[in-house]
């Protein structure tokens, strides 16, 4: 009962925030409704007992990415409140892409035989078993140890790397992106200083 109420609150907020991103025109208002949407998604993760994923959602998307987004808008905006005006062709194209993506997700959800799913996980609502305890399991998986198995027993089983290698590859990609961004920013600044000197 309680978790259903909470689920509906978070689900409505997540959906409403996402709609707000589409409907609103002021960029920072869009960013704020994106904050509501992403934060509510973190709440849904908490309801599912996935506390680590929820905290990461808050830290990375709400606290990190969105701050940079608003920061970028503030740095680049020419007027006081930056707005996005879209032509009707763009609106139609966007709506078509959105509908296609929605139908992909909807058909996937409908296609699952929910009766066959073995057991719905009991949502922890009492304070004593609030802790999802997922961080330890995630860490073990990262270095290739199944969380439910006894440690030591599978010391010579096949794949020892776990998710560490993919994780590292992704982080090296991010590093490449960062270096590229820094390079682009530097190059631009040199041009602008040259131009300023020419103007002087």
């Amino acid at each position: 009962m309680t978790e259903q109420t909470l689920f509906f609150i978070f689900a409505i907020l997540a959906g409403g925030g996402a709609l707000g991103v589409v409907i609103l025109q002021d960029i920072v208002r869009m960013a704020f409704s994106l904050i509501i949407s992403l934060g509510s998604t973190a709440g849904l993760f908490f309801l599912l007992g996935a506390d680590f994923v929820a905290a990461t959602q808050l830290l990375v998307y709400v606290g990190g990415t969105l701050v940079l987004l608003i920061f970028g808008v503030m740095l680049t905006a020419s007027g006081p409140f930056r707005r996005i005006k879209m032509s009707s062709g763009e609106t139609l194209l966007g709506a078509a892409v959105g509908l296609l993506f929605f139908s992909v997700i909807a058909f996937t959800v409908i296609g699952v035989n929910w009766q066959a799913v073995p057991s719905h996980r009991q949502v922890a609502t009492t304070p004593s078993d609030q802790s999802g305890n997922t961080s330890r399991a995630i860490g073990m998986r990262l270095v290739g140890i199944p969380a439910d198995a006894e440690i030591g027993l599978h010391s010579d089983s096949g794949s020892r790397t776990g998710y560490l290698l993919p994780f590292e590859i992704v982080s090296v990609h991010l590093l490449v992106v960062l270096v590229g961004a820094a390079y682009l920013a530097r190059a631009k600044r040199h041009e602008s200083t040259d131009a300023a000197q020419e103007d002087a």
Binding site: I70, M74, T126
Partner: protein, 424 residues
Amino acid sequence: MIPTLADTATTIQSTLEGWELSEGWAMFLAAVIHVSLVAGFFGLPAGIFIWAERKVSGRIQDRLGPTRVGGKFGWLQAIADGGKLIQKEDLVPAAADGPLFRVAPYVVVVSSLAALMFLPFSDGWIAVSLDIGLYLMLAVMSLEVIGVILAGYSSGSKWALFGGMREAAQMVSYEIPMSICVVIPVITAGSLNLNEIGAMQSGWAANWILFNDPFTFFAFFIYFVCATASCKRAPFDLAEAESELVAGFLTEYSGFRWSFFFLAEYASMFAVCGIAVLLFLGGWHTGIPGLDPLINGLRYTSESWVFSWLANLLGFTVFFGKASLLVCVQIWVRWTLPRLRIDQVMMTCLKYLVPISCVLFLGAVVWPLALSFTGHTTWGSPTGNRAAPAMQLQSRDAVPPSTSALRLPRLPLAASDSNEDAGR
């Protein structure tokens, strides 16, 4: 059995269920009681520290500070301030983006209030006890900057926009060394659970993580600098900068919404200092040799819940005292040092704090390994119950190296299991 706050909530809930309330209502009421307690801790430090700030700044500037309100020391000054601010008109400038302007203070208040949920005030006196408590607390506290940026952007004023941009730049860069410095004691303790980290540091003061190795010692100071910057306190108060930017992001705010920002600032000062106390300064332990085992004996082994409750109350007092001391250092620094320029702030972070914290991080990782190779143990004492990772590593000659590498992830498991057993 220790009556932790979580257990208290369960008992509150079950008591309410005994009064023929439904489960949902009982849980709702128990949650309301929890939230009121945390909200009390949101208001209480703010009230004390606002008065302390005025008093300390007065003394530093050779004045008396508040003297009239509430008797001799002006100790009701914070309440008088609040009463004045509530009476003021709730203004929204015509040039502002109304809805965002109104909602920005709430974002700041909610995030700094929610951060207190994950702070253990004494062993088990914690609203939400999670394995990732520290991580989640930092995540929630990082949301505060969104409110400040929104306030700066939506005010429709250039001063406010400058303040908001500076705050964004400062927060984004200072979060990096702060997070790295937070990870260093986490490596030492082997847990992200703030309650566990605090409970590990019993015994005398040498068992505090601060004195565990040189790297944690210096990490504390780097953390404290970054924490001061993350609360936008002077010498890092670039977002306000009242001598350059009028009042920065606060320029257009007045009355109660203005006071929300200040309540949140003092509450988050208390929160970051509380994290520092838990991670480095022994949490709720006194650090006096011989005293902590006595209190722990009272807490864990006594039959009556009154004694363990009293022990926890003493622990709460110690914790609150240590955190208040750190807050007073922040106040002292604010009224002593001049403000840095924005380029100096960024240079301090990117050229000094980030490299220093990276070196400290590396050192803290290598330290237990180096200790185990040289055969030394960490400092610490038999009176403490600290299980330092270095001590566990010493048994490596008893087992083959491959399995000793496998044993490492098991340590936190073992530590938490024993703690949970003690909890039951």
